[in-house]
């Protein structure tokens, strides 16, 4: 009887330890989004109307541990050719050599380095993320404010029950200078603003097998 109880207790503690380890382990969230929701909105002032468009060719992976968000690692990639503006001539210019040169530089990437000013409240974590931002072949270190929302067990609802797992929502708003990345340096700033406002809205999935 005693032996039976101790074996049960052993099994219980082993499964508890396993569950705790699983809960505390960092998860890898994949940001490739077949639903086409993940997007980066960009806006820069210009005469007549601002240049305002979206890029939705988002992919990449983030390793995130809700219990230890400071340890975050990862990389977000945006396909340059996925940048869209409603005016076709403007879109051709944006994809062309003076601006993004998408044929030569097909991706825009941000690789997270370290997190500072990390604050977690419930499922939400805010932080300043410093990382390497590469655009048109130019890499610069940037620090951007990011809000992470950890949605436990929400992957099932998003995939109509086909997969189970967690979601990580990433939101960020920051500004770049086009002169820092050689984006049409010939265009005077009184015609096209130097500042590009970027808004990232991304969701990554970590399926459970």
């Amino acid at each position: 009887m005693t032996m039976h109880l101790s074996r049960r207790a052993g099994l219980f503690s082993a499964s508890l330890a396993l569950a705790l380890t699983a809960a505390a382990a960092p998860q890898t969230f994949d940001f490739k989004d077949p639903k086409g929701v993940n997007n980066a909105v960009f806006e820069l002032d210009a005469p007549l109307e601002s240049i305002n468009g979206t890029a939705n060719g988002v992919s990449g992976e983030i390793r995130f541990d809700p219990a230890n968000p400071v340890a975050l690692q990862g990389r977000i990639v945006v396909e340059s050719a996925s940048l869209h503006v409603p005016n076709p001539m403007m879109k051709d210019h944006l994809h062309g050599k003076d601006w993004l040169d998408v044929a030569k530089h097909p991706t825009i990437t941000f690789e997270a380095g370290k997190l500072t000013n990390v604050r977690t409240q419930g499922d939400e974590t805010t932080a300043e993320v410093t990382g390497k931002f590469t655009l048109k072949g130019v890499t610069r270190e940037l620090t951007v404010p990011v809000r992470f929302t950890y949605l436990k067990d929400k992957l099932g609802a998003r995939s109509n029950g086909r997969m189970q797992g967690d979601l990580l929502v990433v939101r960020s708003k920051f500004t770049l200078k086009r002169s820092d990345f050689g984006l049409n340096p010939g265009a005077p700033t009184d015609k096209v603003a130097n500042e590009i406002a970027l808004t990232l809205s991304l969701a990554g999935a970590a399926p459970r097998s």
């Binding site: 639903k35 086409g36 929701v37 993940n38 997007n39 909105v41 007549l48 109307e49 979206t54 939705n56 869209h84 409603p86 005016n87 076709p88 001539m89 403007m90 929302t149 949605l151 929400k154 609802a157 998003r158 979601l167 929502v169 939101r171 809205s201 991304l202 969701a203």
Partner: protein
């Protein structure tokens, strides 16, 4: 010929203006797609979907009105049908 050019100028000017006004009098550049804002229910993220739609901007309006002006000017320069000289009674 003069009358035809003037008529064509008026039709072009009126047609361009009507099209521009009817499609929302967009005061920016011409668009061939229009963004529709949507929200993902699970994540709360907002995103855009683009619908193919032609929205003429001030460039189309300007080109139409300029074309009409060119036609009207050409019409003004073309001589009207010359009248036969009045016969003087013998």
């Amino acid at each position: 010929m003069k009358r035809w050019l003037q008529l064509l100028a008026a039709v072009l000017a009126l047609g361009t203006l009507t099209l521009w006004l009817a499609t929302g009098a967009h005061r920016g550049w011409t668009r061939t797609s229009v963004a529709v804002e949507k929200t993902d229910e699970i994540t709360g993220l907002t995103y855009r979907e683009y619908e193919s739609r032609f929205v003429p901007g001030v460039d189309v309006l300007g080109a139409g009105l300029l074309g009409a002006l060119v036609l009207a000017t050409a019409g003004a320069l073309v001589r009207g049908r010359s009248r036969p000289p009045a016969r003087t009674p013998a």
